[in-house]
Symmetry: C2
Subunit: 307 residues, 2 copies
């Protein structure tokens, strides 16, 4: 057995499950992942997955506190936790934790998502990303602009360690449905990644006049007129959508970001966003790894679960 | 048998087929429609459909000229006709007609689509709509702004009977793929039409800050927070998309339209666009019916096929 832990953290999302054994100061002693996102748990038997994945760790240290964030706390998850309103940092989130005793008598602390009502009067929500942001930002003073690319991409502003604003962009889902089910998808020949086509899409997204509904059709006409090979249309469409997201997100802010924009995530998509932000002339940086693990630790500490 | 005709006109699209027996001055003597759009023609045997639908008319007047417009002239259709560049009116289109002799020895004149390179350097195309616009506008002097709602909605400017600008918006297709395949669609409970929710979507599309990728998520959050009943989410999404199209289209124009915007089409969608344009504070009018039939007649006359 390895070093003794002070906390078990779970980042349990729609499609993925990650568990961390965390030591003093939040260092990751062990990490494991499994393809048991909440949509893949048979009959909603979350406790069975929990015991199968975490049981061995708890066998060694039965009294370890457990904290869980992500869609596992949604209506479709194990224990629904109401949204905590913004602004919120680890303190507000810790006070809104939901304590749950499992059938086997284990105690799990579930992390709430966050809600906000935007300047336009429309509500928005995140669930899981708040923990990653808390982990990345820590108690840092000053202002940070962060992006979490994905099916529903999230942009957030943090000030002095608290999340003061966020917004959701349906970029990833739109790319998916257009690629799988639209006339544009039928033109996309292969999965090849084409940097020039990606940047062409980014540039068109930044141009003036028109908007996304009009620009989407360019993925068809540029192919039709031979200006883009079929193998490049997917990359072009990706650039057009990510570029549009960046334009929209910046338009939500009262002032242009002066500090580097932090991209959180570990996928190829993160690389694309770093490229796209740089192509827009803005500084970008990649977040530290294990932002979720560190966020779970900080929230648990704010709640007094660890010292 | 009815009055003698001077022309047979076909409006043969992706999903629909309409045929007209046209008299002098382009009056419609007979019209028929069939569910044999080009995607539904078995093995691409267009001549068989042609003979089945039009044969009886031609049996009475074997020497009647026949003219056809729509996706039947695309690469997926019967005879591909290259795009005619804008600006173009009935004269330019007539000169670009493609004469085709069928296996049975009938002569069919195929109408080209139109192409344009926008101010943003990106090409755009229409095929079929040019004929409706020509029919609606005729030789009218002055400037007309027109909308043709659909899967790929088209906006066009005509000046003195010639189409001088147009643009495509993927509004209808986007609504379809989001409704059928996205998380938003899973929230749409029923097909009920809700005028208040539609107008709420229109208003949000006109608000400042952000853009479509962000606003789409509001269809989810407004449902999540009980601000919209599930039965209203479809209408809200429709308003949000049509409203966004109107904002985008107007942003393409150098000046706001002073004359009423003409909506061409016969579907429920036409009604929604009339409502949406009026809601944006702009005058709107419905086009005359049979714009396609009249356009086919005007193009045939410009080509000397009828006197």
């Amino acid at each position: 057995m390895t070093l003794p832990a002070v906390l078990i953290g779970l980042d349990w999302g729609t499609t993925s499950f990650r568990a961390y054994r965390l030591g003093a100061d939040g260092c990751v002693l062990d990490a494991r992942s499994a393809a048991c996102g909440i949509l893949k748990v048979p009959a909603g038997d979350f406790e069975r997955v929990f015991e199968a994945e975490i049981g061995p760790w708890l066998a060694d240290q039965p009294n370890l506190p457990v904290i869980a964030a992500g869609m596992i706390t949604s209506r479709q998850g194990w224990v629904e936790v109401p949204y905590c309103p913004c602004p919120a940092g680890s303190g507000e989130i810790a006070r809104a934790l939901r304590r749950h005793v499992t059938g086997a008598g284990r105690v799990v602390h579930f992390v709430p998502g966050l809600s906000i009502v935007g300047a336009d009067g429309v509500p928005d929500v995140i669930r899981g990303e708040e923990t990653q942001i808390v982990g990345e930002v820590g108690a840092a003073p000053g202002r940070r602009l962060l992006v979490l690319p994905g099916t529903h991409s999230k942009w957030a502003l943090a000030e002095a360690g608290r999340i003061v604003w966020f917004a959701t962009f349906m970029t990833g889902e739109l790319f998916g449905v257009l690629k799988e089910h639209s006339i544009l998808g039928r033109m996309i020949a292969a999965e090849a990644s084409d940097g020039d086509a990606f940047r062409r899409g980014l540039a068109y997204a930044r141009s003036s006049g028109g908007g996304l509904l009009k620009r989407l059709f360019s993925a068809r006409t540029l192919g039709l007129f031979g200006e883009l090979p079929e193998s490049a249309i997917g990359s072009y469409l990706s650039g057009l959508l990510i570029g549009s997201e960046i334009v929209e997100a910046l338009a939500c802010l009262e002032q242009a970001p002066r500090e580097p924009i932090t991209v959180i995530g570990g996928s190829d998509l993160t690389e694309r966003y770093l490229l796209a932000i740089a192509d827009a002339g803005l500084p970008a940086r990649r977040a530290a790894t294990d932002a979720a693990a560190h966020g779970l630790f900080l929230i648990a500490r704010a709640a007094g679960l660890v010292s």
